[in-house]
Symmetry: C3
Subunit: 342 residues, 3 copies
Amino acid sequence: MSKTSKGRFFEDYRVGDQIAHAVPRTVSGGERAMYHALYPARGALYSSDEFARACGLPASPVDDLMAFHIVFGKSVPDISVNAVANLGYAQGRFLRPVYPGDTLRATSEVIGLKQNSNGKSGVVYVRTQGLNQRDEVVIDYVRWVMVRKGDLDAPAPETLVPELANAVDASDLVVPEGLTFAQYDDAQAGAPHRWGDYAVGEQIDHVDGMTMEEAEHMLATRLWQNTSKVHFDRTQRVDGKLLAYGGHVISVARALSFNGLANAQMMVAINGGSHANPCFAGDTIRAWSEVLDRAETAVPGVGALRLRTVATKGDPFVLRGAEGKYHRDVLLDFDYWVLMPV
Amino acid sequence: MSKTSKGRFFEDYRVGDQIAHAVPRTVSGGERAMYHALYPARGALYSSDEFARACGLPASPVDDLMAFHIVFGKSVPDISVNAVANLGYAQGRFLRPVYPGDTLRATSEVIGLKQNSNGKSGVVYVRTQGLNQRDEVVIDYVRWVMVRKGDLDAPAPETLVPELANAVDASDLVVPEGLTFAQYDDAQAGAPHRWGDYAVGEQIDHVDGMTMEEAEHMLATRLWQNTSKVHFDRTQRVDGKLLAYGGHVISVARALSFNGLANAQMMVAINGGSHANPCFAGDTIRAWSEVLDRAETAVPGVGALRLRTVATKGDPFVLRGAEGKYHRDVLLDFDYWVLMPV
Amino acid sequence: MSKTSKGRFFEDYRVGDQIAHAVPRTVSGGERAMYHALYPARGALYSSDEFARACGLPASPVDDLMAFHIVFGKSVPDISVNAVANLGYAQGRFLRPVYPGDTLRATSEVIGLKQNSNGKSGVVYVRTQGLNQRDEVVIDYVRWVMVRKGDLDAPAPETLVPELANAVDASDLVVPEGLTFAQYDDAQAGAPHRWGDYAVGEQIDHVDGMTMEEAEHMLATRLWQNTSKVHFDRTQRVDGKLLAYGGHVISVARALSFNGLANAQMMVAINGGSHANPCFAGDTIRAWSEVLDRAETAVPGVGALRLRTVATKGDPFVLRGAEGKYHRDVLLDFDYWVLMPV
């Protein structure tokens, strides 16, 4: 039969399926350098071994979002290669830092299914985990995607929609072992504003913009071994445009947020995220953030901030248009927790 | 006098010349990350130290084609900087894996010369070797190029055309020391199809496409320290186009072939290759393969497959047009041996 | 107040200010690979651990200009984010090689101020130092920039223009500890021309050209964590063009100069530099050099050459037009010292 995989269609998923995604990946300083070339990332903890050691870690970990992208990329051939849309994320937690030399692999469990009323597609809910070479879970998140049916006559599965928390509870955030901000150096980190200086409801315009080129989002998306055709193959869309991987926009926005959130050192949870509009080469991406919540953690001196960071091609602080839909300039609405020195 | 090299012309070569190419190169995880950013490469053995160790290697080697590109790049200033055309490859063998930390250098021996009847150029045959820091040969191949004469009055050399095998004999393939597929994990590798599942004559459409950007082929070609002007300097052609390095297309095609040949782990020989048509930015590259031969190796459980992989801008399985010439959509016709778990 | 930094304006600087720049950076083989992908760099000492060891160094250092770019990038948010123009460099010295694994940070001291007669801006002179994780200075240079006033009513500071040497004195050049060219291999380095073969006044056309793409200069500039808006944000200029970071052109020119200066191994001083005209994507950059001076060093066998390397979009050896201004094709006029085997 055919040796090329067409990927799974909606009717190929069963609740409870355990899928071991292919192609484990060892990361090195090479992936880290690429990350810094692709994104204007300046978080000191991800830039300097010395800074990371002063924070109690053995070395500078790779950016949390790099771990996310690698794990996400591995899941694409099994989960979203036939997806019509990437609908959402929930309950994402970063459980352990990833260091150069670590090898990541990924698995997913199907936790929900709901066929659409048109009978042509359905929503698949998966819980995906990234594991390192010691089989420790480094990242764990839920996402749901709309997947085409391959055989329209296949019977609809029993509907199961998992209950998903609106946000990760602050008490469930995992502070990496050993992390301390006791000797934290604001000047080296780039800003004096700490956890106590941020108020719930506060909005921050991150000011800077980044014009995205075709080669950039493709280099990034290949680096994460993401095989989704729409990012690489100009013949997939009638307008001949290449669609940037949504995660590329997440990383751009997170990097731009340094200007105003320099001390938002580690991402520890992803509460949700919407890719509000597609992003194409030539777009100039800007970002703004809103503080959604604040919490203490079990570690003295380490505070948690829940943030919404919005990537946009337009003005800051604009999110939705008249009818409550995302404004056409908005690319991303991302809800997450970070750790910050108190 | 002039301190800038113009490179050698046809009359500057003598059969038996030994040329030590300049600029040795140490590879690291950085080159590997770049390779994964440039090509949609997913071979597990080149992606994961853990997977490579389970296959009996000390760590994940760099992609075989990276070693080829680096060695090839070193030879350009001495062999092909004045070449009119890169005519062919033969008898290429990968003799040892290259690991991060290894330093490669290259040498060539002139093994044949044939002046063209027009008296303006001639064909130079060289055997090029790449060596590591222990002076072990890691790669060995023959290529022939058409080189301009600098002095049209220079006498024609005695014609010597080396006898070149159509393909490397299966018995000459070198299985890397220690390689074993005894614990090979199909799920981690990405596909269940093993050596025994492939039949001679079988054709595989690798389905995926990759639209190539200008920055991408230039980043790659610089990374291999290839100095050929046509790849970098828009003023070299009357149409102002930059010609992609042929090796870039080889790597794209090999990476695309994962979808259908995921277990074709190591490239061990290059039997031949033709760059059928030039490749330019904006081209969307696809690939298809044909199984040309199958052979056992000296190592139980390790089979060898001889493949033709064709890179094309058009439809799969189209190779030649009416008059027997390559179809205008075909970019590359590449003939090689890989190792696969039995 | 605002948590986003607008950067300093002219009136915010005081002579004697010590500024610790943010975001220390650990370099690895990843940054080195990126450097080789971005620039056609072929200096053997920066390419091969084996070659570097044969020259008495513990391993291959990262390119001297990479250290410069990283240190320069760190200074941008504090020094030049509101700069109208980057006016000049002087007295730059490379004091220690930087190796993969080293962590760089940067500090600047304000050493001069001069308000412009229009009262709207002024010139700020800083001495910037890059330090490694052992607090050893690896690079030290003066640059001066024209910075806007934020408050036009702020009083003019007392004018202090530092005396800057036209060039670093040869006796102040620092030869890296252990460096020796006693076993220098010309063939591996790429050319037979040594220090004694270069005459003061000699001009060299480096022949090769490189067409620059948008993605390339942005990847580079992000890699150096340089935050200057004009390099990344198309909305910053009325013509919608992205301005390439001047240092990108320095690295392109230095890399192109291999063809004619292959043995100009280490850059040890920057005497001065002018970014004569802006460089944009699509420009094809060429380079030529002139030997300005020759000197012996304290280390037998290690000679120093003072070079001017000019990057141009046009013909070699053209520097200035009729009125003494730089010709419109000239991008860079760069004056520096290198070490070369005698």
